[in-house]
């Protein structure tokens, strides 16, 4: 029983963070038809900036217990960097999609050195601030309360995003633009504004993900490049352009990894790829995917 709870909690924690990054990817793709290879860079940016922000907050005398909202605020704040970056991407919207993929690859390369320049080559960690929220006991498994907070925050963000897209007027406009951009434009939608909004929200999802995970983990120079592979696996499994796909895909990847670590550690590296290949053979569009070709 304890083993199962371990796998579920560990997997859910990993999935929570993966979901945020994948959701950012899906949102941007769904509306703008761009795959952002730099999604990992935003994740890393959120992580690094989160550490800096918490450092500043602590030196300003804020109580240790406040660092959770600080971390979220930091993620949202640095996510605003999406606005200027979107302006750069505007140059290629009407071009072939391949160029969009390429320009984000260029951004990824640039970001790598920005991180090194600003934060150095040494991995950055926060001390054990996250333990200030204590430790919870779930079915005999000792888990830091912070991990549960992260899972909860991720669920909260997923629900908020879903409500936004389904219930609000702007959300409906966003979905309409995703369905058919030209029609939306013809109906008077300011597509530029929508694109700017969507891209920035997509970035924020990534930066918040990074900021959320860094208190219990670390920020390092290769995290961006490594994350892209996992995020892509999630999107391929879940189906391109689908939010539910991001959720289910993230859960599958997170749980598969946790289960493999528990049962067959040597397979950890390959377990996710096996799922990807299986999905490709059995349901190529992904579990929730629609049009892919």
């Amino acid at each position: 029983m304890q083993g199962v709870v371990d796998v579920i909690l560990g997997g859910a924690f990993h999935a929570a963070v993966l979901f945020l990054v994948a959701a950012g990817l899906q949102l941007v793709f769904g509306v703008q038809k761009i795959i952002n290879l730099a999604c990992g860079s935003f994740y890393a940016l959120g992580a690094y900036f989160g550490i800096t922000a918490v450092g500043i907050a602590m030196s300003l005398g804020l109580p240790a217990a406040s660092f959770f909202p600080v971390v979220i605020a930091a993620g949202l704040l640095i996510g605003l960097v999406g606005f200027p970056i979107e302006r750069v991407l505007r140059a290629v919207y009407r071009r072939d999609e391949s160029y969009q993929l390429l320009i984000t690859f260029g951004l990824l390369l640039m970001f790598q050195d920005v991180f090194r320049f600003v934060w150095g080559a040494t991995p950055r960690t926060m001390d054990n601030a996250y333990l200030v929220y204590g430790v919870a006991d779930i079915f005999g498994v000792r888990v830091p309360t912070y991990n549960l907070l992260v899972i909860a925050a991720s669920i909260g963000i997923a629900v908020t995003l879903g409500l936004f897209l389904q219930k609000t007027r702007t959300g409906r406009i966003v979905r309409a633009t995703a369905e058919n951009r030209d029609m939306a434009e013809g109906l008077g939608v300011n597509v530029s504004k929508i694109f700017a909004l969507v891209f920035t929200v997509g970035c924020m999802l990534g930066t918040v993900g990074g900021a959320l995970v860094v208190p219990s983990s670390a920020a390092s120079l290769e995290m961006a490049v490594e994350l892209v592979v996992e995020a892509f696996a999630v999107v391929v499994i879940g189906g391109l352009g689908s939010m539910s796909g991001a959720l289910v895909g993230a859960l599958i990847v997170g749980l598969m990894r946790a289960a493999s670590i528990s049962i067959m550690p040597e397979m950890e590296l390959l377990s996710v790829y096996l799922v990807v290949v299986a999905v490709l053979i059995l349901k190529p569009a992904g579990l929730f995917g629609k049009v892919t070709a």
């Binding site: 290629v92 260029g106 640039m110 790598q112 592979v229």
Partner: protein
């Protein structure tokens, strides 16, 4: 002014490369060997991208296949004939391409790019994980091969910049000519039709899946050959050859040179190798500079160097 055929540009390039050893330093010549490897791989890559419209972000997979074929044959099986290495790596690349391609070519554009990235990384993990076979992170040695059965002896560098250089140059010329024939053939025209409008092409009877798969396999074969050249120059086959950012560099090269022309990607390979060498010497933040170059390239010069030249010439001759 008649349109300069890509084949002539290629021939001119080969002629220049042939006399390079009389002018260039050893270091420059050593730098040209990876260029040849990349150029051959890119000829294949562009059959897929420029001609058929499929952007692969996992082409480095085949560089890896070629490299590890060379290493396995030379250090595990003692097969030193470069001809044998070429043949086997082409076969293995083709085989892998059939399997991977069958799963990937149904999709186009972005999804194809994502899938190929995933498969490239799958191969990378495999190379890393099965270390008893592949050497894992330590890679596998690639011994010096026999060219046309001859053991050239002497120092490694003199071998590389002498006999090997000319062999590879000849290989490049032959493969370039073959690729030219392929792109100008009816098969090539079908591919271009598929790129332009897949539905229309299907309507007039073009077998989309089969054609794309064939293009994928051919591109893989070229990639494998390129991989053997890289591996022999380096002396080691290691998993990082298949990492997805290496695939990204291949795309960078193709776009830099211009994926719209036949010889563009080759020029891109030369430009990239030279540019990276200079930038790495000048600054430690070379990743930033290369990334910025790519961004600016995509925004301001998406047709690449060769495309820009083409525009220039057509303007001079009155345009079309």
């Amino acid at each position: 002014m008649p349109r300069i055929s890509g084949l002539w540009v290629l021939a001119a390039l080969i002629a220049v490369m042939a006399v390079m050893p009389f002018f260039a330093s050893s270091y420059m010549l050593l730098m040209l060997l990876p260029f040849f490897g990349y150029a051959i791989a890119l000829l294949g890559f562009n059959l897929l991208f420029g001609t058929t419209g499929l952007l692969s972000f996992g082409h480095a997979l085949f560089l890896g296949v070629g490299a590890y074929t060379a290493s396995t044959l030379t250090s595990k099986f003692g097969v030193l004939s470069y001809e044998a290495i070429l043949l086997v790596s082409m076969l293995v690349s083709a085989l892998v391409a059939v399997i991977v391609g069958a799963l990937c070519v149904r999709y186009t554009k972005i999804f194809f790019g994502m899938l190929t990235l995933a498969f490239g990384m799958l191969f990378h993990s495999f190379l890393f994980k099965f270390y008893s076979v592949t050497g894992g992170d330590q890679g596998m040695r690639v011994l010096r091969p026999l060219l046309l059965g001859i053991d050239f002896g002497g120092g490694k560098t003199s071998f590389l910049i002498g006999p090997f250089y000319y062999y590879v140059l000849a290989l490049f010329a032959v493969l370039g000519a073959v690729m030219w024939r392929i792109t100008e053939s009816p098969f090539g025209l079908h591919l271009k039709a598929i790129r332009e409008n897949a539905n229309k092409a299907a309507y007039v009877g073009v077998q989309i899946f089969r054609m794309r798969l064939a293009a994928f396999v051919i591109s893989a074969v070229y990639g494998g050959v390129g991989g053997t050249i890289l591996a022999i120059t380096t002396g080691l086959a290691d998993p990082e050859l298949a990492y997805w950012t290496h695939s990204g560099n291949l795309v960078f090269m193709a776009v830099l040179g211009g994926s719209g022309t036949f010889v563009g990607p080759v020029i891109g390979a030369l430009a990239f190798v030279t540019l990276q060498d200079i930038v790495m010497t000048v600054t430690q933040y070379w990743r930033f500079v290369m990334g910025a170059v790519l961004v600016l390239l995509v925004i301001f010069l998406p047709q690449g160097i060769s495309g820009a030249f083409k525009m220039l010439f057509s303007r001079q001759s009155g345009g079309k």
